[in-house]
Amino acid sequence: MVVDERRVQEDFRAKLELALAEYRRWEPEWQTLATKINKSRTSWLLPGMADGLGGGVERPERPAEISIAATDGSQIFPDRHEVSSCFLINIGYILLHYGTGEKPLMSSKPTLYYREEEIFEEWGGRRMFVNRDLVGFKRSLMEFTELADLALAAKAEGHPVVALSDGTLILWNLEGKPQDFKESYLQTTLEAMDSLRDARIPVAGYISQPGSQELINALKLGLCPLEVADCDRCPWQAENQLGFNEDEIGAIQDDLWRGHGLPCSPLEGLNDAVLVSHVLSPGQRTPLYLSTSKILNEYGSHRIYYFYLDVGAEIGRVEIPEWVATDPELLELVHACMCDQADKGQGYPVALAEAHERAVVRGADRDTFYRFLRDTFVKNNIQTSISTKSFKKRYVGI
């Protein structure tokens, strides 16, 4: 096992060295790579390059007075084994004012959904019980719209404000959902984006420990000997070798057998954060990349750009809409505030951490909630029942 583990680690180091060498190689010639990216069709997500591949951008100075708005959400999922099929969404609100000594706003507001029309929804012509999946969507939508409202209210009171969202701004998980559902959720999100843009409040999504591999994918594409790659017709895949003569197949097989795999394989298994951590120093960010997620075709003027940021403790991924990416002042503000927030929160933005603390509904809270609900039902002479399964779990006989 130790021998194997050592081999894995050595293998990883070799991959990383290759990736770094490739990264350096493409740095001055990023436009060639960008052109290849635009022409090629790959099975993996590639970054759109806006202003280069590598090189760190130094941390700008944060304005002395700035307010940071953040929200986070948590929920009690509907449970059909319980007395009621209701569910609860709790949103934590944080508004921290820096440089003024003002009292921060730190609160949470729960919303209980229990009415028939609240626990059943109709999407794609199907009436369905609001399940965990839907509650999750509802919660993340609410996190974002409430963040926009909080930031707008802060701005209305005269605070210069930056809005931080927990996680990605790319609603890729809407892919494959019924069309009306997708449209409705997108529209609400984009309306919130519109209002932020109109108020010129920069918004950024922060992803801790990102697993994304877009940059690595770009380097993989750089390794592909073809001028224009098309993974569906990759000549190194046996199923695409029809019509090749034996010599050609022999050469390709030779290559594969020598353990090289596909030309792009040597970089398999790396992610962007690992690569970038060897390129950036604390406080620096990468250039901007444009996400090419399919869902963004429907984002209009809010298409999402991202950069990786060395916050010291880790590499984070910061996502911003186009109107922030193309406004140098807002972009600098986001960069500076993200670094400052991570410093203050020992590696993770303090406003997001506090929003989570306010929002979180723990197992014990859930139990208390249902106990309170049962007691109140009983006190008010409402007939209640829990499922036999749930009952059995609590009172197991011998």
């Binding site: 609100y93 944080i94 508004l95 921290l96 004012h97 820096y98 440089g99 003024t100 000594g101 003002e102 009292k103 921060p104 706003l105 730190m106 609160s107 949470s108 507001k109 409202d149 909080l150 707008l152 209210a153 802060a154 209305a156 009171e157 203050k344 303090v350 506090e354 603390e357």
Partner: protein, 221 residues
């Protein structure tokens, strides 16, 4: 001190929707109230109250009055500040309080000051009674600091001192000294009061001359 406190307008602010209910209330009607704390634990002999402001508890030895039909009177024997989250502890930042207020404002929202008081009597129809009250102060009732006048009225006689000496909760002499320094101030450092107090103390602890002289020395200087 902060901008929020200086805002005098009555109309709800755009942010009020996001404020916790207590905060919204406090900024409104509660602002004129003059209480220093609110009772959160209560018994016949002592109580714990949460200070209205962080680090805003009464001083050690100070007299307090708790709102009730028969207002309860007590003296502060402990003031403490701690984290409101059971699993989060304050850590050192290496910054002054001023710097922290500017750059780490959230930490002051996560701390709370509480104080403990020893019950020493109550008011019946406005008249002080140096006996424990028939009913303890109610939870959530407001705590006020006693005015000098109230302290003078209550310390018209010195029977309450025995209650302090009999408590096993605190370093008794320290509490006694702190209380007497407050009462002496309320009596405007009157010589008559000082003499009366000295006599009462010598009655209470006359069998221990060293202790008595230490207490009197520290009250009077």
């Amino acid at each position: 001190m902060t901008r929020v406190e200086n805002v005098k307008e009555r109309k709800p602010s755009p942010l009020s929707r996001f404020m916790p209910d207590e905060m919204a209330k406090r900024d409104g009607a509660g602002a004129e109230r003059t209480y220093v704390g609110e009772v959160v634990e209560s018994s016949t002999t002592e109580l714990i109250a949460e200070a209205r402001e962080l680090h805003g508890g009464p001083s050690f030895g100070e007299f307090i009055r708790i709102e009730a039909d028969l207002p309860v009177l007590g003296i502060i024997f402990n003031v403490f500040t701690h984290s409101i989250e059971p699993n989060r502890r304050p850590t050192a930042y290496g910054k002054t309080e001023e710097e922290l207020r500017l750059e780490q404002p959230q930490i002051f929202e996560l701390l709370r000051t509480e104080f403990q008081a020893l019950i020493i009597g109550y008011l019946d129809g406005g008249a002080p009674v140096q006996i424990l009250p028939p009913q303890p102060a109610r939870i959530h009732s407001f705590v006020h600091l006693c005015t000098d006048e109230e302290v003078r009225a209550f310390t018209g006689n010195d029977d309450y001192l025995r209650r302090i000496l009999n408590t096993s909760k605190v370093p008794t002499d320290e509490l006694l000294i702190a209380v007497l320094r407050h009462t002496l101030r309320a009596h405007k450092h009157s010589r008559d009061y000082l003499v009366r107090m000295g006599k009462e103390l010598s009655r209470l602890m006359g069998d221990d001359y060293d202790r008595l002289s230490s207490v009197i020395r520290r009250v009077a200087n």
